[in-house]
């Protein structure tokens, strides 16, 4: 057991080391693409002021280092990145790192809840569909998954607000906490949970649909394997066969899929956080794009790439924990 833990730590450290060049590459590409877009922060600031003289624009650019040639800006950016300095957001007048860390928590909470929701529903409904294959529960689940898959996320979000907040008044329509209520302890947890239900459901819906279909197909495929016949010949109940033998084998592709879809969820959270006014990275990204807050945008993209890399490593670790055939090398 100790040896396994040691192998695991070594594996994670090596993978982290290997991903450093990837992260630097991503940072470079991000920088280039962001600077390809016309307009900079000075344009937006000046535009908002209504009018600005060329002198004022030049002063703004000089102050933020926007007047330097691109390669100088790039070197400055990369140099700072290596010391984890992501620069200063001139729109929020706060360091980017501080902004990101403040918004990371809510987004992680939202994403984790959505993924857990999607996985548990995916397993539950997928297994149910596979065990009732070609009977009505299977058809119902498959059609439901198709509809969930095809429904636009923002539309679903708006419709849920209309139904559950406006008409029924069951759930809060936006934000992460009731403003000014000043709850503490369990009351606060409950309050956040109430705010979390709708955005997490909407965000997880698409992934759920995916997981249900995947789980169903995987269960059916594994169910045909020889070792399942062996299990049946041992006199096990169909229940024990499904959960002890088929499910554990069938869950492997799902782990891969979740790992791949975390980046899609990260993208989806931009929409969801905007619709539900969730104070997370997605909403920050939305603002950063429309306000040409390049430092913030670059910081966000960099943080996202770190999250994706970390998720990939996590996926591999989980995979290796479930499947003894894959060595931790």
């Amino acid at each position: 057991m100790n040896r396994n833990a040691y192998d695991l730590i070594r594996f994670v450290l090596r993978r982290l080391l290997q991903s450093l060049p990837v992260l630097l590459g991503i940072a470079t590409i991000n920088f280039l693409f962001v600077n390809l877009a016309p307009g900079d922060a000075a344009d937006v600031l000046a535009g908002e002021a209504g009018a600005a003289s060329p002198e004022f624009m030049a002063a703004l650019r000089e102050r933020y280092g926007l007047d330097e040639p691109l390669h100088v800006q790039f070197l400055v950016y990369m140099g700072k990145l290596l010391t984890f300095d992501l620069g200063y957001s001139f729109r929020f007048s706060r360091p980017v790192t501080e902004l990101l860390l403040g918004n990371l928590g809510p987004t992680l909470l939202l994403m984790t809840t959505a993924i857990l929701f999607a996985c548990s529903m995916g397993v539950f409904l997928g297994v149910l569909a596979a065990r009732c294959v070609n009977r009505w529960p299977d058809y119902l689940i498959s059609v439901g998954a198709l509809i969930a898959y095809a429904t636009p996320v923002f539309w679903l979000g708006l419709m849920m607000i209309v139904l559950f907040s406006v008409k029924l008044g069951w759930l809060p329509s936006s934000g992460m906490q009731s403003i000014g209520a000043g709850y503490t302890g369990w009351r606060k947890v409950l309050d956040v949970a109430q705010h979390l239900i709708m955005p997490a459901t909407v965000l997880g819906m698409y992934l759920t649909a995916f997981q249900v279909r995947l789980m169903r197909a995987s269960m059916l495929e594994i169910g045909e394997q020889d070792f399942v016949t062996t299990a049946r010949s041992k006199g096990l109940s169909e229940q024990a066969i499904a959960y002890r033998h088929v499910l554990r084998n069938a869950i492997l592709p799902m782990v891969t899929m979740v790992g791949l879809q975390v980046s899609a969820i990260l993208g989806g959270s931009v929409l969801i956080e905007t619709v539900f006014a969730w104070p997370g990275l997605g909403r920050l990204a939305y603002n950063a794009v429309f306000q040409r807050d390049l430092n913030l945008l670059l910081g966000l993209l960099f943080l996202c790439s770190i999250m994706v890399v970390v998720t990939n490593i996590l996926t591999e670790v989980v995979y290796r924990l479930i499947d003894p055939r894959i060595p931790l090398k």
Binding site: F227, A231, R232, K234, L236, S237, R244, P324
Partner: protein, 322 residues
């Protein structure tokens, strides 16, 4: 003496539009206590499906439509699910052709065998590990203690088949159904595994229904042989009689196909043609299109099974005993 396994007039067909697509068509077979009976035939003759049907393990595409399978006196065909689960593993158990895929890759050998014991209440959680090691030692698994804690992927094919046999014998069944247990193994390992099965038969007194297409194996291990063709048993008898003096032209053909080392370099003999698809021959003997001695009668009337001097044979024109 009551047979351990008694199959009579068993019929199974492919689900689908053709009601005559029989995979097993009126098969009868008995296996006595401690007896080794070999069921021989080409691929597609229905021998594996016969093996599967004894424990009602047929794939969903195939449906039992008639007949009786008595296992220790109980009819398996009409049995309800709960009773069937009790029978599986305790009265009869089965080992498969592919040891590489017939064990769950995510469970240790110990857990897979212990699961069988615990399901049938043969041991407790505390005593299970010791019993598993006993069983692994019984099948001569080298280094049983270490192997028990390993996953199937770290075992070779031969060792996996040993683990499978230990699993199958865990609840001391009266009959072991072995579906081509050595086909996927090396020749040297084949010998070891077959010898192990025979030793275990002597030690535990169980019967063995051996499904195989290897007549060499049959000659060495079986007491009785049943030759199957297109879902039916065409000839059955004691192993020496049947192999030395085959009476059905199909049996004779199979024996003629065995390569002979003395005639190395000569052309390999074959039975011309292919076995019929289920349901493609409705009238007459199914072997008639490939049979050297077929007559007009053979294509019109299906031969009845006759019993002569301890041999059962279904042929209009059997070869004369020498």
């Amino acid at each position: 003496m009551n047979p351990v396994l008694s199959i009579s007039d068993l019929r199974a067909r492919l689900r689908g539009p053709d009601p005559h697509a029989f995979v097993i068509d009126g098969l009868s077979l008995q296996v006595g206590r401690g007896e080794v009976v070999a069921l021989v035939g080409e691929s597609g003759s229905g021998k594996t499906m016969t093996a599967y049907s004894v424990l009602r393990l047929l794939p969903s595409a195939i449906q039992l439509v008639g007949g009786e399978i008595l296992l220790g006196g109980q009819d398996v065909v009409g049995m309800e699910a709960r009773q069937l689960r009790e029978v599986r593993g305790t009265l009869a158990s089965i080992i498969f052709q592919e040891p590489m895929t017939s064990l769950n890759p995510l469970m240790t050998i110990e857990r897979q065998i212990a699961e069988m014991l615990l399901t049938h209440g043969k041991t407790t959680r505390q005593t299970a590990p010791a019993r598993v090691i006993e069983l692994l030692e019984l099948v001569r698994m080298p280094d049983a203690r270490t192997r028990a804690r390993q996953y199937p992927h770290s075992l070779s094919g031969g060792l996996r088949q040993r683990a499978m046999i230990a699993l199958a014998l865990a609840c001391e069944p009266q009959i072991l159904i072995a579906d081509e247990p050595t086909t996927a193994l090396d020749v040297t390992i084949q010998q070891q595994v077959m010898k192990l099965l025979l030793d275990l038969r002597d030690q535990l007194g169980m019967a063995i229904l051996l499904i195989t297409h290897d007549l060499g194996v049959v000659a060495e291990v079986a007491d009785r042989v049943a030759v199957m063709y297109a879902g039916r048993i065409v000839e059955e008898g004691p192993v020496v009689d049947l192999l030395e003096a085959p009476r059905h032209p199909y049996t004779a053909g199979l024996l003629a196909c065995l390569p002979d080392v003395a005639e190395a370099g000569g052309r390999l003999v074959e039975i011309p043609g292919l076995p019929p698809k289920p349901g493609s021959i409705r009238e007459g003997c199914r072997f008639a299109p490939r049979c050297p001695s077929a007559t007009d009668l053979c294509t019109r009337v299906s031969p009845e099974t006759r019993i002569e001097a301890g041999r059962a044979i279904a042929c209009h024109h059997p070869r004369m005993p020498a």
